[in-house]
Amino acid sequence: MQKKRIVSRHKNLNLFTIKLSVNALVSILHRVAGVALFLLLPLTLFTLQQSLSSEASYQALGQLFGHWMVKLFLIACSWAFFHHSYAGVRHLLQDAHWMTTLQKTRFTGWIVLALVVCSVLLFAWSILL
């Protein structure tokens, strides 16, 4: 029989004092972006529906997308999309045993973050101008 042992461990649950490594950051953002994309599904379907149902709703959608607040929202959505996609491709490559040492994963983690920033900026530039 095993005796129950009460272990007192030091706990630190203050999230603001934990410094995430780049791998952890890419990972948690992948999850956050994934949940965001799931929550955005009805909006995506609604947009597709409005763009197809009639000429008038198509034009109305175009007008809606012209509003700067909607554009900002779209840019935020694009972040979720780009991050989830790129970090996902990184996961797939890691599953195929590509770049799996700590040093290399840190490198690919930074690559993902850099690509996401570039893509979001490119997207923002293309819809704001």
Binding site: G34, V35, F38, L41, L52, E55, Y58, S85, G88, L92
Partner: protein, 115 residues
């Protein structure tokens, strides 16, 4: 060994692989869609409607969306298991997610073919 891992003895392995395969399908669809959109460049309502009304767009989009639903189902399931500790609440939330995903699939088929 790999074949053994994919039998019903190891359901987690199947789920794990499903999440990867669905991801690959979505990436493929997306790449294809972007290329086709860059070639066709539908501008205006009529061109867009013709493009989206084509059989190829409808079938590939619908199939990809089913894969996407499965991918999302696995992802949300993992998130719920990690953060919702109350078993009853988690079960209800999972049912809500399942129903939502099924409703989205029905909604998409309505958008694509029931216009």
């Amino acid at each position: 060994m790999i074949i053994k891992l994919l039998t019903s003895q190891y359901p987690g392995m199947r789920i794990w692989l499903s999440q990867r395969l669905t991801a690959v399908v979505m990436a493929g669809y997306l790449a294809l869609l972007i290329i086709v959109l860059l070639i066709v460049r539908p501008s205006g309502y009529d061109a867009w409607r013709t493009f989206a009304g084509s059989l190829l767009f409808g079938i590939t989009t619908f199939i990809t969306f089913i894969f996407l639903s499965f991918h999302a189902w696995i992802g949300v399931r993992d998130v719920l298991r990690d953060y919702v500790f109350n078993q009853t609440l988690r079960t209800y939330l999972q049912i809500v997610v399942d129903l939502l995903l099924m409703a989205y699939i029905a909604w998409l088929s309505f958008i694509l073919w029931g216009l």
